[in-house]
């Protein structure tokens, strides 16, 4: 499996999708539905996964997050976006295009 880098473009793998708004009725969590069950997405994780649209590169996703969270540490955003996406790719939830 190739290493992910700032230019990698990701999208959700077949059989993986975010629960639509309102689907998690009553629950404060966002869910990523996958063949084996569901993953809970905490904090900005849902927004990051949504940005994996098969168009944006990882660099652009990090930039977008920095715009949305201007007071957060930029380097930390880059590290955390990279770590989340690598983990989801290793789990087969995201695929590189």
């Amino acid at each position: 499996m190739s290493e992910l880098g700032p230019d990698s473009v990701l999208r959700l793998a077949p059989g993986c999708r975010l629960s639509a708004a309102g689907e998690s009725d009553g629950e404060s969590e966002d869910l990523l539905l996958i063949p084996e069950g569901a993953l809970r997405l905490k904090g900005p994780a849902r927004a990051i996964v949504e940005l994996c649209d098969g168009q944006r590169a990882m660099r652009e996703i990090a930039e977008e997050l920095k715009r949305r969270y201007p007071s957060a540490d930029a380097l930390r955003i880059e590290t955390e976006v990279g770590a989340l996406l690598a983990r989801l790719r290793d789990q087969g939830v995201l695929e590189a295009v």
């Binding site: 059989g15 999708r17 639509a20 689907e23 009725d25 869910l31 539905l33 063949p35 069950g37």
Partner: protein
């Protein structure tokens, strides 16, 4: 403790074109005339979602043998469920597959009985292998999540290497290698199906190596034959903890084998709200906490991990659903399992019996 069900296993029919020698469905199958209607199922899906269910597994029998399958898939999605079809593939062609995908099907699990056509057809009790290969081809051409399921046993586990190669090139993202579990019809054929210890050990080595080799390309899950395990499996992750199974006639069960347990009354989704059955019914509460546990479970550190094992297996092997699962090496009844393994490891394979379809 409040439990939230996460998966609904909907056995929409017991009718099946295959007659697998290891079928784990109950000995008494529900007839077609007793099956729930489309509307019944749609109501059940909505009730399940309200209870917290996220995943819907449409299974059987062969779910494709119901003509309203596309409608059920659509209703599942409409109820905000993740919809998985568990199928033999018999009855599926490109056009029907397109309909199911269009209706919102999220995932397909296709079964194979072997990689060798003659044996595959023999185990399935029907000539289905060539057709399954065509179905796998049709799935591969479409963008839908695809898992291959291969049930392994004494007569085919030596071809595990070939099975892995087959799965690797099938287009599936995931492979499930499941050793036969001895419930329903499979228990009748147990001595013809249980692998030897040598076969099991070899299969583990092959699987571990393949997992490493195929990392990132094919995910491999496997189910071990619990007869050889040291401790029991956490059956269904606990009785009435996470899953609901509804049989073709609407009977609501904690698992697909539970109807064998005498003295438990399983309510029908036709007569009671699903919430009442899940939360209040005596059957769902019978083995839910730890109060039923005998020793050695009661004081065992593993009780929160394996929940004393499988209640159905305890009944089937030891005659008491409230006994420690006899596969546990700590169980007082473990000798039953040891004797079976001694016979299996010391003799040639026996012949098996085929089951017939319900009317």
């Amino acid at each position: 403790m409040i439990y939230t069900p996460r998966a609904l296993i909907a056995e929409i029919t017991h009718s099946c074109p295959l007659h697998c020698v290891y079928c784990s469905n109950p000995l008494e199958l529900q007839r077609r005339s007793a099956e729930l209607s489309t509307e019944d199922w749609i109501s059940i899906f909505q009730q399940a979602r309200e209870l917290g269910v996220l995943q819907l597994h449409l299974t059987g029998g062969e779910p494709l043998s119901r003509s309203d399958l596309t409608e059920l898939v659509r209703a599942g999605r409409k109820a905000h469920l993740y919809v998985n079809l568990i199928t033999s593939g018999v009855g599926l062609d490109g056009a029907r597959l397109d309909q199911l995908i269009e209706a919102g099907l999220d995932h397909i699990q296709l079964s194979f009985q072997d990689t060798e056509e003659g044996s595959a057809n023999e185990f399935a009790g029907t000539r289905s292998h060539a057709l399954k290969l065509r179905v796998a081809g049709a799935i591969r051409e479409r963008r839908i999540a695809f898992t291959i399921n291969l049930v392994v046993h004494r007569r085919n586990v030596d071809r595990l290497g070939e099975m892995l190669t087959f799965a690797e090139h099938s287009g599936a993202q995931r492979l499930e290698i499941a050793h036969v579990q001895y419930y329903g019809w499979a228990l009748r054929n147990r001595e013809a199906l249980l692998p030897t210890r040598e076969q099991l050990d070899r299969s583990m080595e092959i699987l571990e190596a393949a997992r490493e080799r195929l990392k990132g390309r094919l995910r491999i899950d496997f189910v071990l034959p619990d007869y050889y395990a040291k401790y029991p499996k956490p059956c269904m992750n606990g009785w009435g903890h996470q899953q609901i199974l509804i049989d073709p006639a609407g009977r609501v069960l904690p698992c697909h084998a539970a109807s064998v347990i005498p003295g438990l009354e399983f309510s029908s989704a036709r007569e009671r709200p699903l919430r009442w059955i899940w939360e209040e019914s005596p059957a769902f509460n019978r083995f839910r906490d730890e109060s039923w546990m005998p020793e050695p479970c009661r004081s065992c550190d593993r009780r929160t991990r394996d929940f004393g094992g499988c209640r159905c297996q305890a009944f089937l092997l030891a005659g008491d659903a409230a006994a420690t699962d006899p596969v546990c090496t700590l169980a007082p009844t473990h000798t039953i399992v040891e004797e079976t393994l001694r016979r299996v490891n010391g003799s040639d394979s026996r012949s098996w019996v085929y089951r017939i379809d319900p009317a």
